[in-house]
């Protein structure tokens, strides 16, 4: 699997670290059990999944990658942080 980094170009998967689901939203600190769900509960998606990847051995950018978890086909790669795109 290769990821097309918006800064570095196409790079091997060994240069990246996986963080996880890019779809979850951090709830308010006093949200109670909702916060527990946010920390621990994840869907085990078979198909298209938006996820965070970190290019730790390259440009050190956080990326959002949309990937098919069954085929590893990648549909899009963007910077995770809006301010990165200047």
């Amino acid at each position: 699997m290769r990821i097309d980094c918006p800064f570095c170009g196409s790079r091997e998967i060994v240069e990246f670290s996986y963080l996880g689901d890019a779809g979850v939203q951090r709830p308010a600190p006093d949200a109670g059990s909702v916060f527990t769900d946010y920390v621990y509960l994840r869907d085990n998606v078979a198909g298209r999944h938006r996820e965070y990847w970190y290019h730790g051995s390259g440009c050190h950018s956080w990326l959002v990658v949309e990937r098919d978890t069954r085929s590893h086909e990648i549909f899009s790669v963007d910077y995770a942080h809006r301010e990165t795109v200047r």
Binding site: F7, C8, E15, S57, G58, C59, Y79, T84, R86
Partner: protein, 193 residues
């Protein structure tokens, strides 16, 4: 006890190897460079770099140089700033020129820099660099931040010969020298001083 003296990152680590008659790869450590990691913090950062050094820091993985000073694009809003005028005062000079528009971190003792050239340099690098170095893709001024044998390397191309320079974290200098010596040995590696 003897007097302490500065010691370059690759001192004593580079050794010629393989056929010596017509070595395919030439390597030289570039010493006495000023190096700093620079992060842009404000939109008018490029203008301050331009007024100080006459160059605009590239926004892509490219290197732009005025001969003495180079800005090597290593990430979005991030550069390795290199001065061939020496390490002394380089961080302070940059910090003064950029003011609040940039963050500057001295790396002059943090990285070792090698200049590598020769007929077989590309064939050698292809054994370890997981990036496309073909001349149609990776050209003079191109930059790649990547891993070679699990060692973090910042590589940039100087000219069409091709000549490359690369920066390696000082503590990995021995490991990288080992990789380079082993990989270039079949072509012949000559260490220049």
């Amino acid at each position: 006890m003897g007097k302490l003296a500065p010691r370059s990152a690759f001192a004593g680590l580079l050794h010629s190897a393989g056929p010596s008659a017509a070595p395919g790869v030439l390597v030289r450590e570039e010493t006495g460079l000023g190096l700093a990691t620079v992060f842009a913090r404000a939109p008018y950062f490029p203008r301050l770099v331009q007024s100080a050094y006459g160059i605009i820091p590239p926004e892509t993985s490219q290197v732009v140089s005025n001969g003495a000073v180079a800005f090597i694009g290593t990430g979005p809003g991030k550069w390795l700033a290199l001065s061939r005028n020496g390490a002394a005062g380089w961080r302070d000079e940059l910090a003064t020129a950029l003011g609040v528009t940039g963050s500057v971190i001295d790396q002059s003792d943090g990285f070792g820099v090698l200049r590598v050239s020769g007929e077989k340099v590309r064939a050698t690098f292809e054994k370890g660099f997981p990036v496309d170095l073909h001349p149609s893709v990776f050209k003079p001024r191109s930059v790649a931040v990547t891993l070679v044998a699990h060692i973090g390397v910042t590589l940039w191309q100087i000219d069409d010969a091709p000549t490359y320079e690369l920066a390696i974290a000082r503590s990995f200098a021995g490991s990288f020298a080992h990789w380079l010596t082993s990989s270039a040995a079949e072509f012949g590696l000559r260490v220049e001083v």
